[in-house]
């Protein structure tokens, strides 16, 4: 078991911040708050610089200036985008509505047929499975169809959950619970992975214990 301490100062800055954040487990403290403020500021600075170089210059200014005759119309959406800022000025808030109206209106119209296709028709198609009369057919296709139908019935609000209808809705809730159980298990796994990631960082990058 050998350690090989990192000579990169950045790694140690990161280790410092990592430990600062973990100090929160003991209780909320200025060190944690400091780390939090730094991450907010650096994150914002990062986003601003990237936005400036890649979006404003790369995606708007460069095409506009190199090919002005065919792209000059880009000035209109640019003005609309700028109008959004009037949201913060109560007297002129209404100006921002034009940009919002354009994006929300077009976005909704855009989404409508596509969501029907991908979110409804295709999901229905994928559930229209043939039922095979075998153990495999029961365990998969049959259970899926029963689960989807009973789940839909559980979320049906025009009829009270009584009698046969209530029993089917009850089957639905069991399916939902098992589904949530799967999500639960996976979420636990994800959160632990993040912690493992930090442990790996300290063990490998900072202390040089692991050689991968």
């Amino acid at each position: 078991m050998t350690f090989n301490l990192s000579s990169n100062i950045w790694v140690w800055i990161a280790v410092f911040f990592t430990l600062s954040v973990y100090s929160f487990l003991w209780k909320d403290n200025p060190l944690f708050k400091f780390a939090e403020s730094v991450t907010v500021g650096v994150g914002m600075g990062y986003a601003m610089v990237q936005w400036f170089t890649l979006s404003l210059v790369g995606r708007f200014w460069t095409p506009l200036t190199t090919d002005f005759s065919s792209r000059f119309h880009l000035i209109i959406p640019a003005i609309m985008g700028l109008m959004l800022i009037t949201r913060l000025i109560p007297r002129f808030t209404w100006l921002s509505r034009y940009a919002l109206a354009f994006t929300m209106g077009a976005g909704s119209g855009f989404a409508l047929p596509r969501v029907i296709q991908a979110g409804v028709l295709q999901q229905l198609y994928a559930t229209m499975l043939p039922i095979e009369f075998s153990l495999h057919g029961f365990l998969y296709n049959f259970i899926i169809i029963v689960g989807v139908l009973s789940g839909l019935i559980y979320f049906f609000f025009s009829k009270e959950h009584k009698g046969w209808f209530g029993s089917i809705a009850n089957v639905g809730i069991w399916f939902l619970m098992v589904g949530f159980g799967a999500t639960f298990g996976y979420t636990v796994m994800a959160r632990l992975s993040l912690f493992i990631g930090r442990v790996l960082f300290v063990l490998r990058d900072a202390l040089g214990f692991l050689k991968i």
């Binding site: 780390a35 880009l74 139908l149 619970m177 298990g185």
Partner: protein
């Protein structure tokens, strides 16, 4: 009134209609509308970002001016922002630049760590809060336990019974994922799909207008 309220709603309706109809028309005129819409929407998003940056700065500057509680931390936030901009100016933003390293080793590292705190909360919650207070909760926890064992190597290791042809934990977890879980998720997705469709329709028809602000 017309300029402030009706016209925006008319724009919403017209744009919604145009884009819905556009989907069904293959003609090059329709394609032209589509291509330019994408182009415009991207540019709006670029300039729309101003709003976010502006309000961010405003919040922190107000906090410093008014000396509200924890205003010192607002100074730290603004200073880190400034440092990033200076770093980008003096050293560019390529690989291993000051800018890149500052991001990777402070912001990214802290963010990752903050989220990893959840591992601790989940462990203490699993001890103190996840209660099997009903039969359905038992089902949920049982499925979760099978999932947690089935997705890691140890699940195979302890499934000694698989030698006798009984499905291992791994197999069972795979089945849960592909069968009951899939059914539950699809039932939810079908419902959510309808819900969001109604929302888009309400927006196009001008019934839902919360997003326009008061």
């Amino acid at each position: 009134m017309f300029w402030k309220k009706q016209l925006p709603l008319i724009i919403v309706f017209m744009m919604g209609l145009i884009m819905t109809v556009q989907y069904f028309i293959p003609h090059h005129v329709s394609k032209w509308v589509y291509v330019n819409y994408v182009d415009w929407a991207i540019v709006i998003a670029i300039f729309g970002a101003f709003l976010g940056y502006f309000s961010f700065l405003r919040v922190h500057i107000t906090r410093i001016r008014k000396k509200t509680s924890n205003w010192v931390f607002s100074i730290i936030t603004l200073a880190s922002l400034l440092i990033m901009i200076v770093f980008a100016l003096i050293d560019g933003k390529g690989s291993d630049s000051l800018f890149q390293n500052m991001f990777l080793y402070t912001s990214a590292a802290i963010n990752a760590t903050v989220f990893s705190l959840l591992a601790f909360y989940i462990s203490s919650a699993s001890y103190r809060a996840f209660r099997a207070h009903s039969a359905q909760a038992v089902a949920l926890l049982l499925a979760a336990v099978i999932m947690m064992l089935g997705r890691v190597p140890i699940g195979d290791k302890i499934s000694f019974w698989s030698a006798w042809g009984i499905p291992s934990i791994n197999t069972v977890s795979q089945w849960i994922l592909n069968s009951p879980n899939m059914a539950a998720k699809r039932a939810i997705a079908l419902g959510v799909g309808l819900g969001s469709l109604l929302m888009t329709l309400k927006i196009i028809l001008g019934i839902e207008r919360t997003y326009l602000g008061n």
